[in-house]
């Protein structure tokens, strides 16, 4: 049984559905939900994800039935049909995607009764039940992908052996999604593959429609998008590979080897790509050699966030930057099985660091774990605590950082204190951006 969450770091499944659809090209989400669901989600997405903005047709422009008491009593299917028809008339799109809030599901509205009235139209209308009680943002992402794979992606008989699909970088919940997708795509291009990213720059709905021609679905996560990839395999026969989201040399090198092996690329070729990337990476990394020691830029670190980011950040901090990320708090909703998989990503560090891993959704507990891990000073003469410390987490972790007097960088959602456009932290290049951002905090007062 689930429990309450103190200061949750995600919106509901409906929010995840809105977030995923609002950044899919030429797609118009149509919300069948109570008055307010759209506005509630808009605030959390637009102003707590690096100031993302309303996008093409979301935010206050998001088409919504604004269901209220009358429909709750008498049913809202007619109102939905009217809303879909008028959305198509008014809003220019190629795909109209109906999503639902809790209330309309609970009263038993069947969106399919409305959707099927548009079967013979010029534009495609599909839909899914995404009510908030189904879960959090990631669940919404998963539901939308599954629906797209079943109802939108066209079956393909032939495979393009040089084409792969990329999933698992969850738009908006990963505030750097756009930059991260571009960076990972670039790496896969270097391995000689074309990549459908669906949410990245230059994508069209056609690439999604034709994505069953790909030879492999690469899910850059052990938790997000995995169920959807299973559906893809079931429906279209395209196999999938799950691989941890990579940041930095150690994470990315392992990523490239895993992907290379899954795609059957000759080892020497993969190693050559790695070598070239490492040379570029360390040509910048080496610049810090002078100040790394003189300014003492090594920190004890706490990493707080989702299962994708925490493992990537921790590996980068431990194995690339030489920091001491000894405590990791993961705030996702995970099954025991998923927790085991996630745990396995925090082992085998070259640096020998073995972080303490905690699964906890409540923000206030982070401070307690820090106290437990490093101890609390009671004024003793000789004491080793969380000092010099650094917290890498969300904007919510500013409170505990302030309390402990340690610097903090917001990398995970919610992120109300940074503006993010095309910045990304994935791969080798992204890790250079991350290094800039982390160390800039430390030299900020100089």
């Amino acid at each position: 049984m689930s429990k309450f969450v103190e200061r949750p770091k995600y919106v509901c499944a409906l929010g995840g559905a809105v977030g995923t659809l609002k950044v899919l090209p030429r797609t118009v989400p149509v919300l069948h939900a109570a008055t307010g669901c759209g506005g509630n989600v808009a605030l959390a997405l637009n102003q707590a994800a690096g100031y993302l903005g309303s996008g093409y047709c979301a935010g206050q422009a998001l088409s919504s039935t604004n269901t209220s008491e009358r429909e709750i009593v008498f049913g809202g299917e007619d109102r939905l049909t009217e809303q879909i028809a008028n959305t198509i008339k008014l809003v220019d799109g190629d795909l109209y995607f109906v999503i639902t809030g809790c209330m309309v599901e609970m009263i038993g509205d069947d969106i399919r009764n409305s959707i099927k009235k548009f079967d013979s139209g010029d534009v495609q209308v599909i839909g899914a039940e995404t009510g908030g009680f189904h879960g959090n943002y990631y669940k919404g992402y998963e539901i939308v992908l599954k629906t797209l794979f079943r109802d939108f992606v066209e079956p393909k008989a032939a495979r393009d052996s040089k084409l792969v699909n990329l999933w698992g970088v969850v738009p908006i919940q990963d505030v750097f999604w756009k930059g991260n997708i571009a960076l990972i795509k670039d790496l896969l291009n270097k391995l000689g593959y074309q990549v459908n990213t669906f949410f990245g720059d230059g994508e069209t709905l056609d690439s999604l429609k034709n994505s069953a021609a790909a030879t492999l679905n690469i899910v850059v996560s052990d938790t997000f998008g995995v169920e959807a990839a299973q559906v893809f395999e079931e429906v279209h026969g395209v196999p999938y590979l799950t691989v941890p989201f990579p940041i930095g040399d150690h994470g990315t090198t392992s990523f490239l080897r895993k992907v290379g092996s899954a795609l059957g690329i000759a080892n020497p070729f993969v190693e050559k790509v790695i070598e070239r990337e490492q040379a570029h990476y360390y040509s910048y990394f080496e610049r810090l050699a002078d100040v790394y020691s003189d300014l003492d830029l090594q920190r004890y670190t706490v990493v707080v966030g989702d299962s994708n980011y925490t493992q990537a950040l921790t590996r980068f901090l431990a194995d690339d930057l030489g920091w001491l990320p000894e405590l990791v708090v993961i705030s996702d909703f995970l099954t025991d099985e998923q927790q085991d998989t996630v745990r396995s990503n925090f082992t085998g560090y070259e640096s020998g660091i073995l972080p303490e891993l905690v699964f906890d959704t409540d923000a206030s507990n982070v401070g307690k774990y820090i106290a437990r891990h490093w101890g609390q000073s009671s004024g003793q003469k000789y004491f080793s605590g969380f000092n010099p410390g650094f917290i890498v987490g969300s904007a919510i972790e500013r409170d505990v950082a302030e309390k402990l007097g340690v610097p903090q960088l917001t990398v995970t959602y919610p992120m109300s204190n940074r503006v993010v456009l095309d910045r990304g932290y994935a791969g080798y290049t992204g890790a250079l951006r991350l290094t800039e951002d982390l160390l800039s905090v430390l030299v900020g007062s100089r």
Partner: protein
């Protein structure tokens, strides 16, 4: 007015016959509103808006030393993640030791929908009390528990015996109303029932009565006003209004935003409730009158020179010190007029469309007019009798304003886009949260309010003039964006009547644009 015996407040559609969909001229709205049938209007296409839960948070987010428990699936109230940073900063402006925003979501899931969520609510309230030891725990009820029949009042009544914090239920289920402002009634309902009152007030108890002290106390109360602030105003606004009231020798208690839960207890010890927004405060003011006999002033917002002066005079009239207020007003206005001269010169002839809450846009329209600008149209979130009287005032004050377009609806940027394309104003004055669309149309945006700026009182009028001038000095941002990004609507939308999707029943308009 006496609704506070009930567990839940009525919605504004019922209480005020508030209207949420209209398009026509100011003159049409004024005449139709009197007929009282506008609340039936609807839209056949609508865009997202907030609900009363999200707007309730506008006040509740600010209450110091409290914890908010949102009893709902994980997404309701999620906007708090975007507001936590600023909420803390602004609480600290009132109390440097303020904790900022603390909240818990009860995370109702598929199982709870079947089995009920009361247990989760209990555990969340107990956790809030144990973890934070707050003065108040505010429990917000949402759609799902309302539909599955969770009895949050029973849970709270039971737990109140076990926890030290005052537990305040707020019934703000989103589906119950399209008038988001019902939120204010929901919040005040909880406040009136659980935070205000003699039984909660522990005043100084004198062992030996002191007649002189008692007289002093009576005198103090007879010169004390409750200034009912709104979350859309800044600390600078508050300071300006407090300064004006203090010039009239009045004591000022500021409620409800950024107050400590204890501040409400003795709020009945006041001579007058001074509202600055009827949309915000009529429920509270009326009930304070019914229950404690405190009269109130609710007519207007101190935005712009005319309305600030009217607001001050209304208050002065109550205390019988009009002459004194007249002198204050004359000296303030003289000084302000001189300071405004260069801005008036720049702004004269510039045109504007305004959007936001009815009270705020109607008074801001008067302000813009007084700066020499022309108001081409107004877009109000909703419309009720309080807007009606301000609209009449505007029609009187501003020549030719009866021809101005008025559009009622929360958000609905598609109607706004159509209006902006046709009216092509020099500036759009819009409610924060939905202003990107006007920028993307190449129309510079002046936010209708902002918690870091001064809008109210005489100083506010100057600041608005100064900032409008600054904005219009360089409009490159919106121009550049509009050249490269479009809005999502089909081209033919802009040839149609902006109010095509409003179902106005028998009272259809057909305004030529």
């Amino acid at each position: 007015m006496d609704y506070i015996r009930e567990k839940t407040p009525p919605v504004r559609e019922d209480r005020l016959g508030a209207c949420q969909a209209f398009g026509g001229s100011c003159c049409d709205l004024a005449s139709q509103s009197k007929k009282g049938c506008l609340y039936n209007n609807n839209r056949t296409f609508s865009q997202s808006q907030g609900c009363q839960l999200t707007l309730s948070l506008a006040i509740l987010n600010t209450i110091r030393d409290s914890v908010i428990v949102v009893h709902s699936p994980i997404g309701c109230g999620a906007g708090m993640v975007a507001q936590a940073g600023t909420a803390k900063d602004w609480q600290k402006l009132r109390d440097p030791n303020a904790f900022g925003l603390r909240w818990i979501n009860t995370n109702l899931d598929e199982l709870d929908v079947v089995n009920g969520g009361e247990e989760k609510l209990r555990s969340a309230i107990l956790y809030a009390d144990r973890e934070y030891r707050p003065s108040a725990i505010i429990v917000m009820n949402s759609c799902v528990p309302a539909l599955i029949g969770d009895d949050i009042d029973a849970v709270i009544e039971d737990l109140q015996k076990q926890v030290s914090a005052r537990i305040v239920p707020v019934h703000c289920e989103g589906f119950k109303t399209k008038i988001q402002a019902t939120a204010y009634d929901a919040v005040y309902h909880g406040v009136l029932r659980h935070l205000v009152g003699v039984e909660l007030y522990e005043g100084p108890e004198l062992i030996i009565p002191d007649e002189l002290e008692e007289l002093k106390e009576k005198y103090r109360i007879s010169h004390t006003v409750n200034l009912l602030n709104v979350s859309s105003m800044s600390r600078i606004d508050e300071q300006e209004l407090v300064k004006l009231l203090k010039s009239l020798d009045l004591n000022v208690r500021i409620l409800p935003c950024y107050a400590h839960p204890d501040d409400f207890a003795d709020s009945f010890e006041a001579a007058l409730n001074v509202s600055i927004c009827a949309t915000h405060d009529d429920y509270f003011s009326e009930h304070m009158k019914t229950k404690y006999g405190i009269p109130f002033i609710l007519e207007t917002v101190p935005i712009g020179i005319a309305n600030t002066s009217k607001w001050l005079l209304d208050i002065a009239k109550f205390f019988g010190i009009e002459e004194r207020a007249q002198k204050l007003i004359a000296s303030e206005v003289r000084e302000l007029d001189a300071a405004l001269a260069p801005y008036r010169e720049f702004l004269t002839g510039k045109t504007a469309l305004l959007g936001g809450g009815e009270i705020r846009i109607l008074t801001t329209a008067e302000l813009l007019h007084s700066l020499g600008m022309e108001v081409l149209g107004l877009r109000g979130f909703h419309f009720d009798r309080y807007g009606e009287s301000l609209l009449e005032q505007l029609l009187e004050d501003v020549p030719a304003s009866e021809r101005a377009i008025i559009n009622i609806g929360a958000g609905q940027p598609f109607e706004q886009a159509n209006l902006l394309a046709k009216l092509k104003p020099d500036v759009f004055v819009g409610h924060p949260g939905g202003n990107g669309w006007a920028n993307k149309q190449g129309i510079p945006v002046f936010p209708l309010f902002g918690q870091t700026y001064n809008y109210m009182g005489y100083l506010g009028a100057f600041e608005v003039a100064r900032r409008l001038t600054r904005l219009l000095k360089n409009t490159s941002y919106s121009r550049n964006v509009s050249r490269h990004v479009g809005l999502p609507y089909r081209k033919d939308w802009y040839d149609q009547d902006p109010f095509s999707y409003i179902d106005q029943g028998a009272a259809d308009q057909g305004v030529a644009l």
